[in-house]
Every structure is written in structure tokens, then in C-alpha cells.
């Protein structure tokens, strides 16, 4: 069997079989499921407490009957209280009620209310109560003014506001709002996944290499097969691991969202709708993801080969971490203004391309040549980085001593230099 595959399988299998991999994956999956069912989880704890009961001392005779209709069996129940305020306050202290609401007549504002409680930290009950009272007040005031319910409904009826895409000169249309929302969702997801993947798997590669160096097994390895083969076998081995892990996360998230779609906090998911995305966007997502991963993985492998102790990995990986954080920030900014000059320029800088160019492709109509250009630069930089990385790696793995500085690059390249 080709030695590339030996290293590839070894890298992949030794990781997959490791306890830490199984545990992290399992923890992640559990968190995804838990997050998807967060409302149920909260409900689980809330139900024990029961609904909040608010005692109402109504001195107007009209308000309570209206307020009663706002009672919600699960959360907030208004109960009429026919005793003195001090008796009610005693009941609150005893825990029977959450609060006492006193409603008095008022000439100017029809009525006024005071909310007495021992739990000032709880904002949701007074807010909800105040909102209900406000609605009652509007109803009473309009009624007094002789306006009927139908008129009021008409006043509060929201009007239609449609954005319509004008057809472009070449027959295509600009993206509809719906399409952009969908693309925005994908872009968000992709940004997070790539960010996460680069940090996690890049670090894994660097650690793996540093580990082999610090345990000194490296010298045997590179006397068995070429370091360049090993470097790329590692990069691809961990890539496969990453793809499997991420697909697992995505599949589980997808099912969680699917099964719980009705109960999800509506707006966020409408905003990011997942259906109706053009196939090309998905393809671009995968292409930019893979290329982005390769770029950063090669960089990580190169840096990992310079370290001789595991402790130094973090320090040397710092530039990589910064790069991906900057790329992430730029694209987060770009999601709101994808057509700004900053975004256009940064989308052609190789280290930012995977995130920023994908964002543009997803949100705007980009001429094909520009996408092709950015893909070419990206692939070229991967090749250049792979070439330089391989050189550094070849020398770097033989270099020991307290290192972790960038001047080691020169030394490593010299050590690995081939004259023929």
C-alpha cells in the first residue's frame, strides 16, 4: 500500500479511536440537541414553579373584568382580591401571590396602577401586567371617545411593504429578499463552521506534528517515507476526520431544527430560511470550505513542524488564529454591507477569500470571472504555501531546541534544502 495511505489511515484512525475524540463529538451532539430543545428544557424547570398569581385590588369596578381576560393559565393569572392592601401584602410575603396590583381611578389617565412586590428582580411579570393595562386603557379611551372597535382595528392594521427586484439588463433579476435571507443564513453557518474547523483542526494538525517531534518518533518516520507525503497525508487525514465530524453536527442540527421547526423562535429562522437556495450556493459553500481548510491546514502543518515542544504550539499558532479571527470579523461586518469596497478588496486576499468571497457569492451577483479569479488565487496560494510548507517541514522536523520564533523559517528551509 502506498505510504501516503498508511499515514493517512493512521492519522485518521488513531484520532477516531481516541477517547477524547469520541467524548468531544458526543458532547457536541448532546449540546446541539439540548440547544434545539431549549424551550422544553426551560419549561421543564418552569412548570415546577407554577404560574405567577397577581392579586388585584380594583377600585374602578371596570378594569378587573377586562384584565381577567389577559390571564394566562401557564404564566400569569390575575386574581381579584377583596381585602385591604396590607392583607394582600401579607399574602405576597407569605408566597401566595407574586405581587399586588392596586388600580385606582384617575381623571386624566382614566386609571392608574401600582404594583407592590417583594421580587423587584423579576421584570417579566410587571412588564406583562403593564402591557395588558396599556391595552385596556386604549380600549377604554377610544370607547369613551365614541370610536368603535372596527376603526381601531383598522388603525392598528399593518400595511404592506414589498421590495421588488427590478430585472437587470441581461435578463437576470437581482436577488429577491427571500433569496438573500436564505443566503445570509448559509453564509452565517458557513462562517461559523469554517472558523470553528480552522481553529480546531488546524490546531489538531499542528499538535499532531509537534507531538511526533517532541516524542522524537519523527526521525524514524521521515527515514521511512518522505516528509512531504507525511505532511499532506496528515492534512487530508484530519480533513476527513473534520468532514465526518462536521457532517455529523450538521445532520443532527438539521434534524433538530426540522423536528422542532414549529416551536422555534420564529423570526430568526424565517430570516435565515433554508429552503429555495440555489444549488450553486451550496456548491460554492463546499468548495470554499475545502479550499479554506486546505490553506489554513497547510499553514498550521508548516508552523507545527517548527515547534519542538508541545507547549510552544499555541504561541506559534497565534498568527493563524489571528488571521481567521480577522477574516471572521470582516465577514461579520460584510453580512450587513456585502457590496462595500472593503469587502470587495478583502475577498481577493487569499487568507480571507474563503469567508469573504463566499459571502459575496452568496449575497450578491458576482461576475463569474471574479469568482474564477479568486478561486485561482486561492488555489495558487495553497500550492505556494504547500511548496514552502513542505520545504520548511522537511528541515523543521529535524530541528530541535527552544524555538517558536519566525526566524526558524530560514533555518528550517536551509536545513531542508535540496541542491539537486
Amino acid at each position: 500500500m502506498n505510504k501516503f495511505w498508511v499515514v493517512f489511515c493512521y492519522t485518521f484512525l488513531s484520532r477516531v479511536k481516541s477517547k477524547s475524540f469520541i467524548i468531544t463529538t458526543a458532547l457536541f451532539l448532546v449540546s446541539i440537541v439540548a440547544l434545539g430543545n431549549i424551550d422544553r428544557l426551560i419549561g421543564l424547570f418552569d412548570n415546577d414553579a407554577g404560574a405567577n398569581q397577581v392579586a388585584v385590588i380594583d377600585q374602578t369596578d371596570t378594569v378587573f373584568s377586562l384584565l381577567e381576560e389577559f390571564s394566562d393559565q401557564d404564566e400569569l393569572i390575575f386574581v381579584e382580591f377583596n381585602d385591604s392592601l396590607s392583607a394582600a401584602e401579607q399574602a405576597v410575603l407569605a408566597g401566595t401571590y407574586t405581587a399586588v396590583l392596586v388600580i385606582e381611578e384617575d381623571n386624566e389617565t382614566i386609571f392608574q396602577a401600582s404594583y407592590h412586590t417583594d421580587q423587584l428582580i423579576n421584570q417579566s411579570v410587571p412588564n406583562q401586567t403593564a402591557a395588558s393595562l396599556q391595552q385596556i386603557k386604549v380600549a377604554l379611551a377610544t370607547n369613551e371617545a365614541g370610536i368603535d372597535q372596527a376603526t381601531i382595528d383598522a388603525i392598528y392594521q399593518p400595511f404592506d411593504f414589498d421590495t421588488v427586484a427590478i430585472e437587470l439588463a441581461d435578463g437576470r433579476t437581482a436577488r429577491t429578499e427571500e433569496e438573500i435571507g436564505v443566503a445570509r443564513g448559509l453564509v452565517y453557518a458557513m462562517l461559523f463552521i469554517l472558523y470553528f474547523a480552522v481553529l480546531m483542526y488546524g490546531n489538531m494538525i499542528a499538535m499532531d506534528i509537534a507531538n511526533e517531534k517532541s516524542s522524537r518518533v519523527m526521525e524514524i518516520l521521515i527515514s521511512s517515507s518522505s516528509p512531504i507525503k507525511q505532511m499532506f497525508a496528515k492534512i487530508f487525514g484530519i480533513a476527513l476526520l473534520g468532514l465526518i465530524q462536521i457532517s455529523l453536527f450538521i445532520t443532527v442540527s438539521f434534524y433538530v431544527v426540522e423536528s422542532r421547526a414549529d416551536n422555534m423562535i420564529g423570526e430568526a429562522f424565517e430570516f435565515f430560511g433554508v429552503s429555495n437556495v440555489p444549488l450553486s450556493t451550496y456548491i460554492y459553500a463546499v468548495v470554499f470550505f475545502l479550499l479554506g481548510y486546505l490553506l489554513y491546514a497547510t499553514l498550521s502543518a508548516m508552523l507545527g513542524s517548527l515547534v519542538s515542544r508541545l507547549e510552544d504550539v499555541g504561541q506559534l499558532m497565534m498568527p493563524v488564529t489571528f488571521l481567521i479571527i480577522i477574516a471572521f470579523m470582516i465577514s461579520m461586518f460584510g453580512i450587513g454591507v456585502p457590496d462595500s469596497t472593503l469587502i470587495t478588496i478583502t475577498s481577493h486576499i487569499p487568507f480571507f477569500t474563503p469567508l469573504v468571497m463566499f459571502l459575496r457569492v452568496g449575497l450578491l451577483e458576482i461576475p463569474t470571472w471574479e469568482i474564477a479569479l479568486s478561486l485561482t488565487t486561492l488555489i495558487l496560494s495553497i500550492l505556494i504555501l504547500g511548496y514552502v510548507g513542505a520545504k520548511v517541514y522537511r528541515g523543521g522536523v529535524l530541528m530541535y531546541g527552544k524555538s517558536a520564533s519566525l526566524k526558524d523559517f530560514k533555518q528550517a528551509i536551509q536545513l531542508g534544502k535540496r541542491d539537486n
Binding site: V6, R216, S223, L398
Partner: protein
């Protein structure tokens, strides 16, 4: 025609690690590499293996430079031992064996034989970090020879081992030689080198100061050791012509003499002086040669 090192120089920046080294390492023999620390042994080994390239000169094995097409026929025990500490003996030997182009079944067969030979058959499923230093070294040795290499390079194979294990390893090396493996090894232990090697080379500052077959080296060194045990005072011998040095011991003395002829003159001068219990002429030991040659170039 075997391993040929032809005018090889390696410079790291302004530092010259190996300087114009030329050696012919004969086939199916054990070749000893001696030298003080920093003499350029490890650098030479790395160049032989193609891990680093020579600045000048060429190294060929069977007429061709060593590259990654040939690694399946080469075994290497680096000076800095290294294995995956968290993995079992079985797991890593399988991985390292496969990297040398072996099939899993074949590896396990060989591994069991080697563990048996080294009297550690129950270590198969132990993690390397749980083993003692000496046993780790045995595993390391197995990883270098598991694929029956035709060229075996051992960098300080015996350092840090107890005498019993040195003997075990020595026997293993001799067996490999009998099976037709060319073995190059470096060592600080002169007696081991003397015992194992027919050919050797002493390096100093990247240059061979002595090289050739052990017999020839000893013969051309000329100087011999003369041991005399006698009841009378022998200190006057130091002043005789041809005596290089004298070391007085409680029972007599050890003389280093320029050549065999001197011994006969000494024998004559001893006549009638008293009772002589021992008069023995001996070849110089490798240790003597090493100390003199390496020491000389320090002066």
C-alpha cells in the same frame, strides 16, 4: 560495491559538521563509527539516509543515491530514541512496519519472534510509556529491524543498556550480519566495537582520522602494549629508547612501546635483575588508539 561516501562535506551556516569525508563501507560487514561527541557521526548518518543533503560530494549505495524508493531496505535506529508513548508496542510496530512497506500479518509474525528473542513476549499490548528505558530501547531496535533491512544504521545502539541487554542486542546484531545485512553503527563503547566490527572509522571534527579494517588499524598504529610483572623496581624502563609511556601498577608496569623490536631490548635488559612473573606483548586496544588519535588532534 556497497555504501560509498565520496568527498562529502556538510556545512550548517559557517559551521562545518562533516568535512571532505570519504569512506567505503563494505557489504555484509559491520562498520563501526567512532568519534567524540560532535564529531559529525549523526550528521553523516542523516546524510546517508537522505534526511539532509550534503553540501558537497555524494553518497551512493549500490551505485545509486539513497532516496525514498529504497527506504524499505534500510533500517535506522536514531540516537534520540522516539516512539509514540501513548500507544501499545503492537500498534506502533505495525504502523512503523507498514511505513517500511510490510503487510500487517508479516509484521506481527516478525514482532512476535523479536519479542521472544528479547525475552519480552508479554509486552505486545503494553503502552510504550509503561516500559522501562531499556525495554523501550529494545522496542526501538525492533522497529529498526522489523523489515529485515539490507542496510542497517544504528546510532549508539548500546548506550543506556545493562550488560545482559547489551549482550542480547549484540547477538541480534551479529545474527543480522550473518543473514547478510550491512550494518553501520556508532558507539562510545570501544570494547563492543572491537568485538563486533571488522571495519571502522574514527571521526574527529567531521574528518576521519583513522579508518580501515580493525587489524590493519592496529598494525599500522605500530605501538604495542607490554605488560611486565616482576619483583624488582621497573621504573628505569621509562628511560629506555623506544618506550613511549609507562604506567606503574602494584605488581609491575604497563609500557607502551614504539614497536615489537623494543620489547626484545627490554627483555634483554631485564635479564638477571630478578624474578619475572609475567612478560606479555599485546596489540594496542582500540581504546588506546582512540585516546591517542583523538587526543592528539586536540593538542
Amino acid at each position: 560495491m556497497s555504501l560509498k561516501i565520496d568527498l562529502v562535506t556538510k556545512r550548517f551556516g559557517s559551521f562545518t559538521a562533516v568535512n571532505q569525508l570519504s569512506l567505503d563501507i563494505p557489504d555484509k560487514q559491520i562498520f563501526g563509527f567512532l568519534g567524540a561527541n560532535g564529531a559529525g557521526k549523526t550528521t553523516t548518518f542523516r546524510m546517508i539516509l537522505g534526511l539532509i543533503d550534503a553540501t558537497e560530494g555524494a553518497i551512493t549505495w549500490e551505485g545509486e543515491p539513497i532516496n525514498y524508493d529504497k527506504t524499505d531496505k534500510i533500517g535506522y535506529l536514531p540516537e534520540e530514541r522516539g516512539l509514540y508513548p501513548k500507544q501499545t508496542v503492537k500498534e506502533q510496530i505495525i504502523y512503523l512496519g507498514r511505513l517500511r512497506g510490510m503487510a500487517k500479518k508479516e509484521i506481527l509474525e516478525q514482532l512476535n519472534q523479536w519479542l521472544e528473542r528479547f525475552r519480552i513476549p508479554d509486552y505486545l499490548d503494553k503502552k510504550v510509556e509503561e516500559l522501562s528505558k531499556g525495554n523501550q530501547q529494545k522496542i526501538q531496535f525492533i522497529s529498526a529491524v522489523i523489515h529485515n533491512p539490507r542496510l542497517l544504521i544504528l546510532d549508539e545502539p548500546f548506550s543506556g543498556l545493562d550488560p545482559v541487554n547489551v549482550e542480547l542486542l549484540k547477538n541480534a546484531v551479529l545474527k543480522l550480519k550473518e543473514a547478510g545485512t550491512t550494518i553501520v553503527f556508532s558507539s562510545h563503547q570501544m570494547d563492543t566495537v572491537e568485538e563486533l566490527c571488522e571495519y571502522l572509522c574514527i571521526m574527529q571534527h567531521g574528518k576521519p582520522i583513522v579508518h580501515g579494517s580493525l587489524k590493519e588499524i592496529k598494525r599500522s598504529f605500530g605501538k604495542k602494549n607490554l605488560f611486565i610483572h616482576a619483583d624488582f623496581d621497573l621504573s628505569y624502563l621509562a628511560d629506555l629508547q623506544g618506550v613511549v609511556s609507562q604506567k606503574v601498577t602494584p605488581v609491575g608496569c604497563k609500557l607502551q612501546i614504539e614497536d615489537e623490536e623494543v620489547s626484545q631490548r627490554i627483555l634483554e635488559s631485564l635479564q638477571g635483575k630478578g624474578f619475572i612473573r609475567k612478560f606479555e606483548l599485546e596489540e594496542p586496544s582500540l581504546n588506546d588508539i582512540f585516546i591517542e588519535k583523538v587526543g592528539e588532534s586536540y593538542e
